[in-house]
Symmetry: C2
Subunit: 341 residues, 2 copies
């Protein structure tokens, strides 16, 4: 027989509490099955024993060994979050925020989050997590066309959740509902304008898919306040803007993203048009640059943390084998700052 004392020693090195369910059982004169049931709060158990066991566990800071639990329960209590090896600064910020949300929710359910970094042509690390059975489900971001990771996961039958769209309606995904949020954000910005004001939307290239959503969001926002008789125009080339600005005195300028917005701000500065006093301005895409601009510029912010939380909830649910809605939404945040005051 293995030297029991030796094992105890080893486990002390690794563990915080010395107690196993077995220990608690003998300490309390119960069987370990009963202890297990009392602790997991499942199966028939008398209130008295349950409370006794839970009190004891709490008092002694008992922590179940999750590895053992995982083995017995045929699951790993791990989620994987997939992120690319190579990323732009913007993507990293986005991932970091997503990850915060993912980790937050996961840990509430006793799950840990394992990072799998993949290269475009090589799902290597995700693959070994899958093949080594270290994860119960996966969260993907930034799908490529005909995504390698998706293929891998489909083949191995591990449930996965996608942040963003692009994998088809049937795949569980959570989207930030750009169009609707742009419409609502437009309304929010219009809120302080008097009826009949002039509104300009300066839009980046319509070759960019996101800009199409933003444009139609803007248009549907304007449509829904038709009764207020706002006048509006859309300018799809920033370089035209310098002229456009001379034609009318705009009350509000909305920009498709932060880059466009900064260009517009530059032009306004050249023309000595004061942001806030002369014209309100806002962007459909936030960035530090807008936040720290003087005056700070209002913007629609994709709520990466919330996307992380939601995808985590779904991944957890899928890991439990429960059915999930495939289409899920998370709202953006409206960062209302001085530029629209």
């Amino acid at each position: 027989m293995r030297n029991r004392l030796h094992n105890k020693d080893m486990s002390n090195r690794l563990r915080n509490s010395n107690y196993t369910m077995d220990d608690i059982a003998s300490e309390l004169g119960l069987s370990k099955s009963t202890v297990s049931r009392a602790l997991s709060d499942s199966g028939r158990i008398s209130l008295a024993t349950r409370e006794k066991v839970q009190a004891f566990a709490k008092e002694h800071g008992f922590r179940p060994n999750l590895v053992a639990k995982a083995l017995a329960g045929q699951k790993t209590l791990n989620l994987a979050a997939v992120m690319p090896f190579e990323a732009t600064a913007y993507q990293m910020m986005f991932f970091h925020e997503c990850l915060s949300g993912i980790v937050t929710r996961a840990s509430e359910s006793g799950y840990s989050v394992l990072v799998c970094m993949t290269k475009p042509d090589d799902s290597g690390i995700l693959r070994s997590a899958v093949e080594n059975q270290k994860i119960d489900s996966v969260i993907l971001t930034q799908l490529k066309h005909d995504d390698e990771n998706v293929k891998l996961l489909r083949k191995s039958n591990i449930p996965f959740v996608v942040i963003g769209s692009g994998a088809g309606e049937s795949v569980i995904h959570v989207d930030s509902r750009m169009k609707e949020n742009c419409a609502d954000f437009t309304l929010e910005c219009l809120d302080r304008l008097s009826d009949g004001s002039q509104v300009l939307f300066v839009c980046g290239s319509l070759d960019v898919e996101a800009n199409n959503n933003r444009l139609s969001g803007f248009l549907s926002g304007m449509e829904s306040v038709k009764s207020k008789n706002f006048h509006y125009a859309v300018c799809t080339d920033v370089h035209d803007f310098a002229d456009e600005i001379s034609l009318k005195s705009w009350s509000l300028i909305l920009c498709s993203d932060d880059v466009v917005c900064l260009q517009v701000l530059e032009i306004l500065r050249e023309k000595n048009i004061s942001v806030g006093a002369d014209v309100k301005i806002a962007s459909f895409h936030d960035s530090v640059l807008l936040e720290s601009y003087s005056p700070p510029v209002s913007a629609l912010k994709v709520d990466a943390f919330a996307l992380g939380e939601k995808s985590s909830e779904l991944a957890l649910k899928a890991a439990r084998g429960e059915k999930c809605e495939s289409v899920n939404y998370v709202d953006c945040s409206f960062m209302m700052r001085d530029s629209t005051e």
Copy 2:
């Protein structure tokens, strides 16, 4: 007895290969102990059986269940990488790169990396990873004074590795050896200058610890080429620089970091002094801004990926219970670009 078939089904849902060591054993008419030994390449085993087993395993894509392996071996095959919930853009870039290095090395040893996000006052998620025994060792970055995470890990006897300094000499850490690298980088920049040239070091506040290291690195670099009769000066206030520049015609200007460097570049531009032709310039701290400046500016780059790799190696070693050197170094990269041509 549990319904064996049912179990098989469940496990198929989770697993890639249907084979367990038991399966292989019966398939090959061996005992599972022998299969285990053959696969782990440990213990006495005949070449013949080892090869037979390994061939079979390979052919059928057998993957050991790491959860079971972990339980039997009293370890988790997981590392934790700790990162803060809140981080600046710069920190996120740094972490992302570290993480790439960590994950790369860890996966080579069959380890996975679990992200633990912590708040300054709350090691919550790290704590539960520790208490739930989900990790064998930990990698920390950005230690706080009197760091909570360090205290937690000390108490629980989980080995940990620190990226950067600040935890004392006795703690296993990996440092980027700023001073020595600044000295070497200085030499690299001096390399194309003729003897007797004028060199200026523009240094940010000496209240910042890093700047002290940079300054003494610079000085020791200059010291080591004394024979070449370079003249040099140190300017510790960027605002003085505009005057300083008029006094002499400098051949090379070194800056303590990217922010200082951009300020200097601005001044040079105002004075119509051309970088590259009139004066060479370089920074002891890199950033995208320097890389994409026109002309691109040479800089010393902390090699976050290498720091990640090294810390991962150490953490893996510590997890195996092997002794590690406590002081470890990783060299910086010299990003030589047009500004010093």
